[in-house]
Point group: C2
Chain length 302, copies 2
C-alpha cells in the first residue's frame, strides 16, 4: 500500500468522497481531516468521512505521509500556508483542483520543502458539502496527475497507485495542457450552462414558471450543471482564465457561424453539424464515461 496515514484538508464533496473511498478500498490506511468551517467538521465527524476530524489543519497533518487539499482552487494557497510549519519531513502533497497550473504553483510556493504532485480526479456531481460525498465517486473516472518536470518518479508512482486504489484510471499530463483540455470538457460547458440558466431567468417575455414547466425539452440538463458549487467554479474561472478565454473564443466563433446559417436558412450547414456531433456521443458511451440509457434513464421504459 502506498500510504499508511493520509490527511484530507477540506471535507466537502471531493474531500468526503476521498475519505469514504479510503475507508472502503484502503482499510489499513488511517485518515485525519480538517475543514475551516466548524459545521462541516461536525458533520464530517458524524458521517465518519475520516477516522479523526481535527480542530486545526496543523494538527491534522502532523504525522501525515500524504496530504490532499480538497478546497476550492482559490483557497489552496491559504490552506497550504496554514500547514506549512507543521508538515512532517518527506510528506507528499497533492490536491483535487480543477485547474492545475495555478494550483501547482501556489502549492509549490507555499510548501517549498514538500513533494508536490498535483492531481485532478475528473469526477463530481452538482452537490456540494459534507453530505454530498460517496465512496464510489472516482470509479472508472480519470484522475490526471500533473507532476512538474523534475518531480520524484517514486512519489508520482505512489500518488498514482493511491488513486488507482480508489477506483480511478490515472493519466499523466503537463499542467498547461491539462488546463486547456479541461477548459473544453468541463469549464466551458459549466460557463455556458450558468449563462443560459441566467439568461432564461432574466427574460421579460417568458416567465420563470414557464421556463421551469417546459424544461424537459433540454434546458433541465443545463440547470443540473448550473447548480454546481459557486465558490468552486468562480475560482476555476479566475485561475484558468487564459485557457477558458481561448476556448470561449473558439466556441463563440462557431456559434456565430451557426447563427448565420439559421438567419440564412442554410439547412445543409445545420444538418452537417448535427450529424457530425453524434459520433462523439457514441465514443463516450463506448468508453464507459456515460450511461447509454436514453435520457440518462430518467424516462421510465416499463
Amino acid at each position: 500500500m502506498s500510504f499508511q496515514r493520509v490527511t484530507i484538508i477540506g471535507l466537502g464533496l471531493l474531500g468526503g468522497s476521498v475519505g469514504l473511498a479510503i475507508a472502503e478500498f484502503l482499510p489499513g490506511c488511517a485518515t485525519t481531516g480538517y475543514d475551516a468551517d466548524p459545521a462541516v467538521r461536525r458533520r464530517a465527524a458524524e458521517r465518519g468521512l475520516v477516522g479523526r476530524v481535527c480542530e486545526t489543519a496543523a494538527e491534522a497533518v502532523s504525522d501525515a505521509e500524504l496530504v490532499i487539499f480538497c478546497v476550492p482552487v482559490g483557497a489552496m494557497e491559504n490552506a497550504a500556508c496554514e500547514v506549512a510549519d507543521a508538515l512532517p519531513a518527506g510528506v507528499i502533497v497533492t490536491d483535487v483542483g480543477s485547474s492545475k497550473e495555478a494550483v501547482g504553483e501556489a502549492l509549490r510556493a507555499a510548501l517549498p520543502h514538500a513533494t508536490v504532485i498535483p492531481a485532478h480526479p475528473v469526477a463530481g456531481t452538482e452537490r456540494s458539502g459534507p453530505d454530498a460525498g460517496f465512496p464510489h465517486l472516482f470509479r472508472h473516472r480519470w484522475c490526471i496527475l500533473t507532476p512538474p518536470a523534475d518531480a520524484d518518479p517514486e512519489a508520482v508512482d505512489k500518488v498514482a497507485a493511491f488513486w488507482k486504489a480508489l477506483g480511478a484510471d490515472v493519466e499523466l499530463m503537463d499542467g498547461a495542457h491539462h488546463d486547456l483540455v479541461l477548459a473544453v470538457t468541463s469549464h466551458i460547458p459549466h460557463l455556458i450552462a450558468y449563462t443560459i440558466v441566467g439568461t432564461a431567468s432574466d427574460l421579460e417575455q417568458v416567465t420563470r414558471s414557464e421556463v421551469i414547466k417546459y424544461s424537459a425539452g433540454g434546458f433541465r440538463d443545463f440547470t443540473r450543471i448550473a447548480a454546481s458549487d459557486p465558490t468552486m467554479w468562480r475560482d476555476v474561472f479566475l485561475t484558468n482564465r487564459e485557457a477558458v478565454l481561448e476556448m470561449l473564443g473558439r466556441f463563440t466563433e462557431d456559434l456565430t457561424a451557426l447563427q448565420r446559417a439559421i438567419r440564412r436558412s442554410d439547412g445543409d450547414a445545420l444538418f452537417e453539424l448535427f450529424t457530425r456531433t453524434r459520433d462523439i456521443r457514441r465514443s463516450i458511451v463506448e468508453q464507459g464515461q456515460d450511461d447509454a440509457r436514453p435520457d440518462f434513464g430518467r424516462s421510465d421504459h416499463g
Copy 2:
C-alpha cells in the same frame, strides 16, 4: 373516451411512443400508422407500434377520427398534402412538432377542411427511429396545445383529453408564445450543445480522444443532447428562426458579459450569477420535471 380510431403518420420516437401509449392507456382505441420509409414501416409492424401499419398514408387515414402527424416539422406540409384527399369528414388533425406557428399554418393551408389543433408534447430522448419509442414517454410531461383563436372548443377538449389519457399534463398557449418559450427551454439549449460538441471535435490543441476521455467534467451532458435527431433539429431551427435568433441574441449578450468578468477577474460577478442559477434547478426538481438524484443517478452511491 375521446377517439375510437387514431392514425399516426410518422413512426419514429414520438409516433411510436404515441402508438404504444394508446395501446397501454386507451386499449379500446384502434390505431393505424404510416411512415414514408419502408424499413420503418416493417420495424413498426414487428414492434406493434400501431394496430395496423398501412402501405400508404391515404389508406392509414381513411376512417380516422384523429390524425397525428409525428414527422419532422419541415415534412409536415408534404405529409399533410399526401392525405388531404383521403381525410374523412369531421376529422381532427394534430401533431407533435416542436415549433408551432409554422406547423399550424402549414397544416391549416394543406388541410382547409379539417379541424387542426396543433400540439407539442415536451418530451423526448436523444434516440430516434422506430426502436426508440416507449409508452411512458409522456408521463408527467407537459403537452402544449396551440389552437387557433377560432378553434372549435369541443375539438380542443377532445385533443386535451387524449393527451391526458396518455399521461401528459395539458396547457393551452398562443402559438407565437409557445415558440418563444420553447426557444429558451429547448431550442437554444440544443443549439448550444451542438455547437460546443462541434467546437470540441475541431480543436487542434486538444485531441478528440482527450475530449472523450475527460468528458465526465460536464461535456458529456452536452453530447447527449447533441446526439438528437439531425433532421428534426434542422427543421426546428429553420421553422422557429425568429424566436431562436432573438433568444440567441440575449444569450450571447450575457455570455459576453461573463467573458468580460473573467477577463477582468471579477470574481463577485461570477459568484453572483453562479449562486442565482441554483434556485431554478430546485424548482425544476420540486415540480417533477427532473430527477433529484445527483448526476442523474449515474454515479453509484452504493
